[in-house]
Symmetry: C2
Subunit: 269 residues, 2 copies
């Protein structure tokens, strides 16, 4: 079985015969669902949900990704089918807690490099009340140069589901599936027990604080949090897509398609 | 500040002046509270609670510890003030789940080597329905030789509180306390996010199993689970306390106190 040859963190749950010899698990995917897990902390989920809703539809996402011009990506139009912010597990059914586990769920056909981590980073700023939900619409304008902002960390991001045009004929092997679940439960237990231990300690220590600390979600954004917040639209901007394309054209790594310039298509040499 | 010199996993939250030069944080402690965290899995918490209640009081705990005769410990009488098994965090307020986080809480003045991990291991056997709660009373009988059984793993065990006869004058430094809480929240988040990710995956995979797997708590007992269960009282036994004492007396590492033999006191040479 393949699982014996794979590293521990990669497990095969089931397999399906490829519907055709040309089938590509990556390029024939018609719907991808990503989840990003985070604790509530001091975040306003309502504001984050409003901002997430503004992502839905076909937009130019150049300001919500790391532009990968060097690899020939110059078309940044993508479609997001669904985007939501929900509580996944509430600590106390009666009461909101900064320790409630939440998730951002985003569905689309295809995504850009670091697109989800950029989106989540901006959603966090909205949740902290530092930006209005409308910042999403402003950043979706391709005329707006991309402000510099840090990515959300990679740990909580999962590509959770992929759908294909043809229904695949998934095969489960019960014995192997049991073994994988057993192992996953043990890994879950190790992490959940540690979280419970630290959570219980925090519940004892936090009442001793004169000023509450609500930094549960802060560690999910890379870099150091600045003391004074600088609004996104007032920050230094990254070089524009056009500058980047020119850079690669000059270095003769990209060839501009003169016949069809409007489409923004370029070819890698 | 001391915290800058300590390894990351050890943090000072507050300090108190020693009430006397002879004060010992270890030997002057009059009440210790241990917590052991575990997921419900397939365990019957009611049975475990009944078994835990039988531990309360003054007993000879030689069958619930690793006998440390080599270090001169020959008196295995200890008192447990309180022992309970409770749900710490319920996944769904309406429904019991194998993913509910639970805890064993045990309070006493002083404990033997590996005493809590031995107790928890036996409580797990009771919770699995493999032993009756009364096994606790049977094992508390010093005439009963100690059956061989594995320890519960150390990860979920926390010495949570220590009380001293004289109230100590605890000093908190707010700025440092904030820093520690901030760091602890980040550690909590890393573990809670991982648990949430794996938990969500399991919720998707488990319905595909024909026979459910409830191994959430199994990874907390050391060693491999035998296919056929061997009842504790039918297992091979460890060498008795008397044999161990004789062994050390012969090796002249222990001196039997002939004047006061009944007390079981011995001295290390």
């Amino acid at each position: 079985m393949l699982n014996r040859l794979l590293p521990d963190e990669i497990r095969v749950l089931s397999w399906a015969p490829a519907p055709s010899p040309e089938f590509s698990a990556r390029f024939d995917c018609v719907r991808r669902k990503y989840r990003y897990f985070f604790p509530r902390g001091s975040l306003d989920l309502g504001l984050m949900g409003k901002a997430a809703a503004l992502l839905v539809g076909g937009h130019d996402f150049r300001n919500f990704c790391k532009m990968d011009v060097g690899n020939g990506v110059v078309d940044y139009k993508r479609s997001i089918f669904q985007a939501s912010v929900t509580v996944m597990q509430q600590n106390d059914p009666q009461l909101e807690s900064p320790y409630d586990m939440c998730e951002v769920t985003i569905e689309g056909k295809a995504f850009l490099w670091h697109q989800i981590r950029c989106i989540v980073s901006v959603l966090f700023l909205v949740g902290e009340g530092k930006e209005e939900p409308q910042i999403v619409t402003q950043l979706l304008n391709p005329e707006q140069p991309k402000p510099q902002y840090p990515l959300a960390v990679d740990l909580p991001l999962v590509l959770f589901e992929c759908e294909y045009e043809h229904l695949l004929d998934w095969q489960h092997e019960q014995e192997e599936l049991s073994r994988v679940v057993l192992k996953m439960q043990a890994t879950w237990t190790a992490n959940a027990v540690k979280a419970a231990m630290i959570g219980k300690m925090l519940a004892n220590v936090e009442p001793k604080l004169e000023a509450p600390v609500l930094a549960q979600a802060d560690s999910l954004v890379m870099g150091v949090k600045p003391k004074v917040y600088q609004p996104l639209l007032k920050r230094q901007t990254c070089s524009t897509l056009e500058t980047k394309i020119d850079h690669y054209v000059k270095r003769r790594k990209l060839k501009k398609n003169e016949d069809n310039d409007q489409s923004g298509d370029v070819e890698m040499k």
